[in-house]
């Protein structure tokens, strides 16, 4: 259940960024190779955020698929093959996406000073 650790870290970072404002949305980016189980993260979030400024915020999760790029011919391809580049049939691909696990942005309620009033 490392989702618990991950959720605690996430809540900590969001709390810091929100600077006392109520949070309505958290936009997350999670790669398919990151090993995070979405359902488990959402569950942990409900538990941990209770009674905090994050309670009730919606978790908006952008999923990123695993992609490789051939180092020889630059062709990009998915991770469902045999590791050879489908274009030139040579090995030497490099993983270019799929391991993401970060907070992209958050939405917080406006305070008077935020409206520039």
């Amino acid at each position: 259940m490392h989702e618990l650790t991950i959720t605690e870290n996430m809540v900590g970072l969001v709390t810091e960024e929100a600077k006392g404002r109520k949070v309505s949305t958290i936009n997350l980016v999670i790669g398919e190779l990151s090993g995070v189980v979405e359902e488990s993260l959402i569950f942990c979030f409900h538990v941990i955020s209770k009674g905090t400024l994050l309670e009730g915020a919606s978790l908006n999760i952008k999923k990123i698929e695993g992609r490789m790029r051939c180092r020889l011919c630059s062709f990009e391809f998915g991770i469902d093959g045999d590791g050879l580049c489908p274009a030139c049939r040579r090995p030497g691909g490099k993983l270019i996406s799929g391991k993401e696990l970060y907070i992209e942005s958050i939405e917080v309620e406006d305070r008077d000073e935020d409206r520039g009033g």
Binding site: N9, L13, D82, D114
Partner: protein, 212 residues
């Protein structure tokens, strides 16, 4: 109001990991994070390796509970520290930092870290290690890399253990390699038996070739 954050969720762990890495580099110690399912043969591989390379290594043992593995390693006379994670399914960089304070590493060349038996969670927690090694074993089946691509994608070496049991299982080594190469095309894959010691030589040669 929208606030751009763009922060890695495991930033705190990454900071500790960087500190551990500086420590390893300063001590001229090659650190090896060994990850596998429970029972794949992490402890057996570390023991087989130590028997061959001698007393130039220390070991950090990670387990949810118990000191069984640390006691086994201890019989070989190398410095060993046990970390009990108390339920956590992985080691993190802060745990390693604490364990390092309890080890005398002077003059040693290698530090083996046996991670908690699990193929999902440890993948995300950088410990500051120089290399990551995944141990899989024949009885677990040739589809492991397809089921856990995340962890296989991070490996600098894969050790396929229990090669001595091949005749009892329908294990297709080519399929196993294909699964690994689909996310990690150039990683070395060693076939070994920690029981018969077959194949350990190639793995140990690879270890000896590592520089930090």
């Amino acid at each position: 109001m929208k606030i751009e954050v763009v922060k890695d969720i495991l930033d705190a762990n990454e900071e500790w990991a960087k500190e551990n890495r500086r420590f390893f580099d300063g001590a001229k110690l090659i650190s090896i994070n060994i990850m596998a399912s429970p029972g794949a043969g992490k402890t057996s591989l570390i023991m087989g390796t130590l028997e061959s390379i001698g007393s130039c290594a220390a070991v950090i043992e990670g387990d949810i509970a118990s000191t069984i593995d640390a006691e086994k390693i201890g019989t070989l006379g190398v410095p060993v520290v046990q970390i009990n994670t108390g339920g956590a399914c992985h080691l993190d960089a802060a745990m390693i930092k604490k364990a390092l304070e309890r080890l005398d590493l002077k003059g040693l060349k290698y530090l083996f870290i046996e991670n908690v038996g699990n193929l999902i969670c440890p993948a995300e927690f950088n410990l500051g290690e120089h290399v990551r090694v995944i141990v899989a074993s024949v009885p677990e089946g040739d589809d492991k890399p397809f089921k856990y691509p995340g962890i296989f994608s991070t490996a600098q070496a894969v050790v396929l253990n229990k090669w001595d049991t091949l005749s009892y299982f329908d294990f297709d080594f080519e399929r196993f390699k294909r699964g690994i190469y689909s996310v990690n095309p150039e990683v070395p894959v060693f076939r070994v038996s920690c029981k018969t010691k077959e194949g350990l030589g190639d793995w140990i040669d690879w270890l000896k070739g590592l520089t930090y």
